[in-house]
């Protein structure tokens, strides 16, 4: 071979390394690509070569020329960029960016939305009812008669206003979201599938797990053939979706005046501490409730459930004190 291309390449790379300004780059160009440069010499030598060597050398010299053009262009950019950078003003792109920080939704309103959303996906409609209620809707309509021990769990705040429906009674702050059931059923015929979120009030002394105001979510499903095993199915699905598949549940018989059979639902984490935490009450709608809203006897069956939002949020996020929800410390609000 007349030309040692390997050695030429090595020389090219060595030379370009040593180039740091445009003047040296021009000298480099002339050395290789100039009229009397190396590439030109190689081309000139072609007619003298053997027919076997000619195409090989031709190919390699073309490659060499392309490489040199590339190297020269790249070096030119590099030299110009270095020059510009030296004259540019100071800039530190690692300083903090300036945005318009968005606000945060309160964790209770997020939890309510999430829970309602899960039930909406199962076919429920979200409805709301008033916080100021009558005794009739809060108690009697739910099979909680006056002077009955079943009222013991429902200490209630009364207001200094007479009930327009019964002037002998005062209006009250609902002590649970269940009066929403009565309102919905009085206004609509089955089939019904509703979720009723809202604030409820009970004169409980405030401590880490009690608040005189808290949030409940009520569910009601009424149709021709709602059965007890639907209650288990529905709430199991809800808990698995809300708390994740790592959840264990149990249904325990309990008593609520407005459902029969009634149950409490406990959950526990498969890999967590072996303890059961009560999270909601539920049951099959009591026939007395259907009777109170004027549904024909024996025509419908239904299920109902109620859960405390604060309690569920405390369990899910590991919050120890219920009061933190209502203090509205920015450091708390901005965590969610």
């Amino acid at each position: 071979m007349a030309w040692d291309f390997a050695q030429i390449h090595q020389g090219v790379h060595q030379d370009i390394e040593g180039v740091h300004d445009l003047q040296a780059l021009e000298a480099f160009r002339i050395k290789y690509l100039g009229k009397k440069g190396l590439v030109s010499d190689i081309f000139d030598s072609l007619p003298r070569l053997s027919p076997e060597e000619k195409p090989l050398v031709g190919k390699q010299v073309n490659e060499l020329r392309n490489l040199l053009t590339q190297l020269i262009n790249a070096k030119k950019d590099e030299v110009q960029q270095t020059k510009k950078s030296a004259s540019s003003p100071f800039f530190d792109v690692t300083l903090p960016g300036i945005g318009w920080p968005v606000g945060h939704r309160h964790i209770l309103s997020q939890a309510i939305d999430e829970i309602c959303g899960l039930f909406e996906k199962l076919g429920f409609a979200v409805m709301e009812g008033p916080e100021i209620e009558s005794e009739e809707n809060n108690f009697e309509g739910l099979n909680i008669p006056a002077d009955h021990p079943s009222r013991d769990g429902f200490d209630t705040f009364y207001l200094d206003v007479a009930d327009p429906g019964d002037k002998t009674k005062k209006l009250l702050l609902r002590s649970h979201t269940s009066p929403g059931q009565v309102r919905i059923m009085k206004a609509h015929k089955p089939p019904l599938a509703v979720i009723i979120p809202g604030k409820v009030y009970r004169p409980d002394a405030v401590d880490a797990s009690h608040s005189f105001m808290f949030h409940q979510i009520e569910g009601l499903l009424v149709a021709d053939d709602v059965k007890f095993f639907h209650l288990k199915g529905l709430l199991t699905t809800f808990c698995q979706r809300f708390f994740g598949p790592d959840i264990q549940m149990r249904f325990r018989p309990h008593f609520f005046p407005f459902t029969e059979p009634s149950a409490e639902v406990d959950i526990s984490w498969k890999h967590g501490k072996k303890e059961w935490l009560e999270i909601m009450g539920c049951g099959m709608v009591h026939p007395a409730v259907f009777k109170a809203v004027g549904y024909p006897e024996g025509k419908y069956t239904g299920l109902a459930f109620g859960l405390g939002v604060e309690r569920i949020a405390m369990l899910r996020y590991g919050i120890q004190d219920i009061r933190v929800f209502f203090e509205n410390d920015q450091r708390f609000l901005k965590q969610f």
Partner: protein
């Protein structure tokens, strides 16, 4: 209620460890809340639900245990006592209040120590030993659930018992040494002279049995649960007896318990049963329902597959009497102690409870459709919340009740507010008529923590005589946004920031029809407050909070801004979907005007003049800037307004724009006393 495992074992051979039994109780509806040991005995604390008065005794729990475990009950044999022929005089004057009254007079009792086995049983569940007679009464109460009371017979005037309502103002000193004033709503046990016991609740000090007592009168009765409950609440006095009476005792055990107690007294304290009475009035409380149900109906409702024999066994284990009727229908009669079982649904629960809820399968219901449309307000509210968030505001949730003084401090005491009749503290006395005090308190608390840049919003109810109204409140203070490029790390917010955030947020659900109208309000600084007016209704207000109010709430930062809006008014006027305005393809022509207007003229006045001209080709008016400086008379300010002329049908000519614009400018000069600069 406390239950001793050893005592329980007297009546049912449990045969499983205590902890396992506790779990079984819990899973059958008798929730064991705590287990602890006393002298080698295991004590269960059981939460007995209000419907299960029958379980407020060892025998009641033993019945449950037998049913759950499928074991036999070994109850103490009924005491056969010889009833004396001499009738003790008992008069029931209040037939509604007392349906049965048994009195047994035992003469010559020896007030002595109680047998050790009995004091041990009582001690295990925390009942203090007093003397043999009282201990026996307590023992029978705990064993059977039927309250008893022993009087010192010699201290009863006229040796008779009258069951009546108390006279107005009648007093009694109860055995806890408290004098109590009674009224006719309260049922009492009286002798010839006066009340000697508050029926079903507590006996009187004057007729209490003591170490000196020789002769006793033992009472076992059935009192009306409602009367007992009302009296107990009214007097603020409850006891083991009242707790059971108000839940309803077993009418079937009034006599058997009396007999058991008499037998125990005769055996342990001696004496002779010399007189007795068993007076019954009315039979209603003794009536037992008969419930018709089929195994098929039970299986269908619960979603289980029990055989007829299994169902029957469950009922029998609970002492229910089952009569077979036609076509697989059973007539089920619950025992006298199960007064909670009145309908089919109750039988369903009994079956589910005894087989265990865990045996019921789990199925998703097929929810085909619901007759209720979702509440549209919820969606609007959520949209509003997202926009408030986008404006940088954090959502808060605060209490609906506030302290009366919060209203005064916030200069809102003129608002008619609802009052809570029975608050636990003064902090909960008033239903808030505005969200303002709540948000001020939140700002104050956060500022105390050293936070200066605060933006909060809440959507919550306010309460008035006419009812509750959903309301939006926004409050802000501090820096607009943290910006290290600006002096002091950012610019401080003013009323315009609040107004902008507010209008952007609310505008997302309703194109505002309302105007922000300057008005002096006590809660705002002079000239920096406004009401929000929709036609002639005031639906909100916004402005810079009055300095005195901030000081009253302990807020040291002087620049805090607040807006409140009645969302009910917004919800009721929301148009959905919003109307579409076509996009013009023709060029817009912009004319700027610089005016010097008197300071008495608000920008809104200028806008009103412009809008009154109804210029069809004027498509938009944009405020550009305000000038308050030396180059203008002190009673005037400079404003620059951009007028954008555009038609959706054609390209406007220079001439028609000029004509319209000049006319407009002249009108402004005339109607707003403006000078063109």
């Amino acid at each position: 209620m406390k239950i001793s495992l050893n005592w329980l074992k007297d009546y049912v051979a449990v045969g499983i460890p205590g902890k396992t039994l506790a779990h079984k109780f819990s899973m059958a509806g008798m929730e064991v809340e705590r287990i602890y040991s006393v002298d080698g005995d295991m004590i269960f604390e059981i939460e007995v639900t209000p419907n299960r008065a029958d379980c407020l005794s060892v025998l009641g729990i033993a019945r449950e245990a037998a049913a759950i475990l499928g074991k036999k009950k070994e109850f103490p044999p009924l005491s056969k006592i010889k009833w004396p022929s001499k009738k003790f005089p008992v008069t029931i004057l209040d037939k509604e209040g007392c349906q049965q009254y048994i009195a047994c007079v035992i003469e010559g009792v020896d007030m002595d120590k109680t047998p050790l086995w009995m004091t041990k049983r009582l001690k295990s569940i925390g009942v203090r030993s007093i003397n043999n007679v009282v201990d026996i009464a307590n023992f029978c109460l705990m064993e059977t659930g039927q309250p008893l009371h022993a009087f010192d017979y010699d201290k009863l005037s006229g040796q008779k018992i009258i069951v009546r309502r108390a006279h107005a103002g009648e007093t009694i000193v109860t055995i806890d040494n408290v004098e109590r004033t009674l009224d006719p709503s309260i049922l009492v046990i009286a002798d010839a002279r006066q009340a000697v016991a508050i029926a079903g609740i507590m006996g009187g000090k004057g007729t209490e049995v003591t170490a000196q007592t020789k002769n006793i009168l033992l009472e076992s009765a059935y009192f009306n649960p409602i009367l007992i409950r009302r009296a107990s609440r009214k007097l603020g006095l409850s006891s083991d007896s009242s707790y059971r009476f108000e839940r309803g005792v077993d009418p079937g055990s009034v006599k058997t318990t009396a007999e058991r107690a008499v037998m125990l007294i005769l055996k342990n304290a001696g004496g002779l049963l010399v007189q007795a009475a068993d007076v019954r009035v009315g039979k209603k409380h003794m009536e037992k329902p008969v419930i018709s149900v089929s195994c098929e109906a039970i299986n269908s409702f619960l979603g289980v597959q029990l055989t007829s024999a299994e169902c029957q066994r469950i009922f029998t284990s609970l002492d229910f009497v089952v009569d077979k009727g036609d076509k697989g229908v059973w007539h089920v009669c619950p025992p006298s102690f199960r007064r909670d079982v009145v309908g089919q649904e109750d039988l369903m629960e009994e079956v589910a409870r005894i087989i265990g809820y865990e045996e019921v399968p789990s199925r998703l219901p097929c929810i085909s459709a619901t007759n209720v449309a979702p509440d549209p307000r919820r969606q609007l509210r959520n949209q509003l919340k997202i926009q408030c968030q986008a404006q940088g505001f954090d959502e808060v949730v605060s209490y609906s009740m506030i302290h009366r003084s919060d209203l005064t401090k916030a200069k809102l005491d003129h608002l008619p507010s609802l009052r809570v009749v029975n608050p636990l503290s003064q902090d909960q006395e008033m239903m808030r008529p505005s969200l303002f005090p709540s948000l001020l308190k939140i700002v104050q608390m956060n500022m105390n923590h050293g936070e200066k840049d605060l933006k909060f919003f809440e959507t919550g109810k306010i309460y008035m005589k006419e009812g509750e109204r959903e309301t939006l409140a926004m409050i802000m203070a501090g820096t607009r946004t943290q910006d290290w490029r600006k002096p002091q790390g950012g610019e401080e917010v003013d009323v315009y920031d609040l107004k902008g955030a507010f209008i952007e947020s609310v505008g997302s659900i309703q194109h505002p029809q309302w105007v922000v109208e300057p008005q002096e309000l006590p809660i705002f600084e002079p000239r920096q407050g406004a009401v929000i007016r929709d036609d002639d209704k005031h639906i909100g207000f916004l402005g810079k909070i009055n300095q005195t109010i901030l000081q009253q709430f302990g807020i040291k930062q002087p620049h805090v801004f607040y807006a409140e809006l009645d969302l009910e008014a917004v919800y009721s006027t929301v148009q959905s979907p919003p109307p579409f305005a076509s996009l013009s393809e023709y060029p817009a022509i912009v004319r700027d005007v610089s005016l010097a207007v008197p300071k008495s003229i608000f920008y809104q006045d200028v806008l009103n003049v412009i809008h009154r001209q109804h210029i069809p080709i004027l498509s938009k008016v944009r405020f550009v800037e305000q000038y308050l400086g030396e180059k203008i008379a002190p009673d005037r300010r400079g404003i620059v307004i951009s007028f954008i002329y555009q038609s959706s049908e054609r390209t406007l000519t220079e001439q028609e724009v000029n004509t319209a614009h000049e006319g407009l400018v002249q009108t402004l000069a005339r109607d707003c006393s403006a000078m063109i600069r």
